[in-house]
């Protein structure tokens, strides 16, 4: 079977650009009436021709989101367990060249941090590490998952790319979901953005979600870091990646994350900053293309923005977030991976959601065989 990288090769940059540039208003309106959108339709909805129809897109996206998700939004929170990192991603606060102090939590610290999160009432947790295979090994991540699993209904990971066997190791430790941001689907840009470190291997990262699916991961998340490449390119490839995974792994729940690049420690000029209107076009087009897929919006976005994005298709938000390692149960003098804009606690988030007519869902799924008490 061809992998996603081979499939993506059938959609070269020029082809994507050509379809997007030649899209017409008629194509936009027709795509908004279709029950099932093809990749070409998605591209049309992301194109400049669709921009004047943003309200139409929003109405359609709202209708689809209500139909498939109702008025419920899932809450989760990230737990950074190590920011030691050997990569030099030009846009990231954990860049190995940044001289900030680093922290690497031991198992007791991880459990203490996780306990605070569990006490906030959250049931879905996402473990994150920097890319330091020797220190934050797959076994370390698996041990962390195993240690905290009794406190949570769902444990996800957002870590460096693993092999299929390593994903299996995590699944055996109780991990049920993995998120992998490709950052950009432009291989040349990717190469420039990642001057050194294991992350430089574009293909290994691109095909990581598929390896996780083959290992039996229940749920996958993909995403590009918006702002790195031209909007239309990475926006389209992200949707195409999720769509392809769903078609080939129909038993796996595939979602999309929509991070927009923001300031961090170090200096990086955002090459293609995505404005709010374009950001809304992205989310609503994604909802029309993938009506049943979860869309995750992190606390990079402001409370104001997140509250308005929820009716348009966002189904999963973080709450009570810290992007620094430690800092909840233990002292943290280190800085975070990125600056969060929405600082709301779980209680505040729940109340805010209720205020706009949505229910915060703490737990939407639990493996019936799990050890969680």
């Amino acid at each position: 079977m061809e992998n996603f990288e081979q499939f993506l090769a059938k959609w070269p940059r020029e082809r994507r650009a050509r379809i997007a540039e030649s899209a017409t208003e008629e194509q936009v309106l027709a795509a908004l009436c279709k029950d099932t959108l093809q990749p070409e339709d998605f591209l049309v909805l992301l194109s400049p021709a669709a921009a004047p129809h943003l309200e139409d897109l929003a109405q359609r996206a709202h209708e689809l989101t209500l139909r498939y998700f109702g008025r419920a939004v899932n809450l989760f929170t990230p737990l950074y367990i190590s920011d030691v990192c050997t990569n030099q991603c030009r846009y990231c606060g954990f860049n190995a060249k940044n001289t900030q102090p680093r922290r690497h939590l031991n198992m007791d610290e991880i459990e203490a941090e996780a306990r605070v999160i569990a006490d906030m009432g959250l049931q879905h947790i996402l473990l994150l590490t920097g890319d330091a295979r020797k220190l934050s090994s797959p076994e370390y991540i698996a041990d962390a998952a195993r240690r905290i699993k009794p406190m949570f209904a769902s444990v996800g990971v957002e870590v460096y790319s693993l092999t299929e066997d390593e994903y299996r190791l995590l699944i055996d430790a109780g991990v049920d979901s993995m998120t992998m941001f490709q950052e950009t689907y432009n291989p040349e840009l990717y190469d420039w953005l990642h001057p050194a470190g294991p992350k430089k291997d574009y293909s290994f990262r691109l095909n990581a979600p598929e390896r996780a699916a083959r290992a039996g991961m229940r749920s996958l998340g993909v995403g590009a870091l918006l702002g790195l490449d031209e909007f239309i390119q990475d926006a389209f490839c992200t949707g195409l990646h999720a769509w392809w995974l769903m078609r080939h792994y129909p038993g796996v729940d595939v979602g999309v994350s929509i991070p927009r690049i923001c300031s961090h420690e170090g200096s990086f000029d955002i090459p293609h900053a995505v404005g709010d209107r374009q950001f809304v076009q992205y989310i609503t087009a994604m909802r029309c293309f993938l009506p049943r897929s979860g869309i995750t919006c992190s606390s990079r976005e402001s409370a104001f923005m997140r509250d308005h994005l929820i009716p348009l298709g966002v189904t999963r938000v973080s709450a009570g977030v810290s992007t620094a390692v430690g800092g909840r149960a233990t002292e943290a003098d280190n800085s975070g991976q990125f600056d969060i804009t929405d600082h709301r606690s779980v209680e505040e988030m729940t109340a805010a959601l209720a205020g706009i007519g949505y229910q915060a869902v703490i737990k939407d799924w639990e493996d019936p065989t799990s050890t969680h008490a």
């Binding site: 008629e26 194509q27 309106l29 027709a30 009436c33 029950d35 139409d56 809304v280 308005h308």
Partner: protein, 256 residues
């Protein structure tokens, strides 16, 4: 716009498949073939009776035969019938039909998938006739089926696309041609299936049992072509999406 229809490695010009059953007289078949424009025609396999003439004599030599395995109740019987059909020297295409419930005549998905797997391994070009069940269809495709043939309604009922939603799912999800088989009673229904994105339709009873099969064959030909063209053209907006927008409060008003 180029619109190639490749099935089992063969390029077909017509997206209408016809059958040879239930005609008032078999000598109508050549004219029906001509009027339908079809290239693929189904036949069944039965014991010969003394003095009985087979159907092949009535089928123009230019047609491609698609023998079915009707009469089979199990995968093993379907495999046996397929081998017999191939021995007749008319190619290696086979429509798998396994029916063990003779009251409703619904295909047995499990046995059909098993037979598909076995026959693909023997080099047949396999077209399984199935209920439009995504899991059965996937099993057949994974086993190497060249197409899947979901039923629109129980066989011979002429009731149209009763399984429309399910066929739509197969069209969306599978990468092989979807040939709607069974149940199509009128040209408008064949047209509807093609508009949805079906690759082809197989029509037998509706043509054979009409008062004028030759004329009905040409009607189906036109309907299948019309539906295909509509699908290729891409339907326009059914309603102006703006209508809905006016009815509710704006969702993008927060963007300055």
């Amino acid at each position: 716009m180029e619109d190639k229809f490749i099935l089992g490695g063969v390029e077909l010009k017509s997206r209408l498949f016809i059958g040879t059953g239930k005609y008032s007289a078999d000598n109508l078949i050549p004219a029906v073939c001509e009027a339908s424009g079809a290239e693929v025609i189904t036949v069944a396999m039965r014991r010969v009776e003394k003095g009985q003439q087979g159907i092949v004599a009535h089928i123009p030599k230019t047609m491609r035969l698609l023998p079915n395995t009707s009469g089979a109740r199990t995968a093993e019987e379907a495999v046996r019938l397929a081998r017999l059909a191939r021995a007749a020297g008319c190619g290696d295409w086979i429509k798998i039909e396994v029916i063990s419930d003779v009251r409703h005549l619904l295909p047995d998905g499990y046995e059909t998938a098993k037979a598909t797997e076995a026959l693909v391994k023997e080099g047949f070009t396999v077209l399984p006739y199935i209920n439009p069940d995504l899991y059965v269809a996937r099993a057949c495709v994974d086993a190497g089926a060249a197409a899947v043939m979901p039923l629109g309604a129980p066989i011979g009922t002429n009731r149209g696309l009763r399984t429309k939603e399910m066929i739509g799912i197969l069209i969306d999800e599978l990468d092989v041609p979807i040939v709607v088989d069974a149940g199509i009673g009128r040209p408008s229904q064949a047209c509807e299936a093609m508009e949805m994105g079906a690759a082809a339709c197989l029509v037998n009873t509706a043509i054979a049992s009409s008062a004028d099969p030759v004329r009905m064959a040409s009607a189906f030909r036109a309907a299948v072509e019309a539906g295909r063209n509509a699908w290729l053209a891409g339907a326009g907006a059914v309603k102006a999406p703006g209508e809905a927008a006016e009815a509710s409060s704006p969702l993008t008003g927060f963007l300055r």
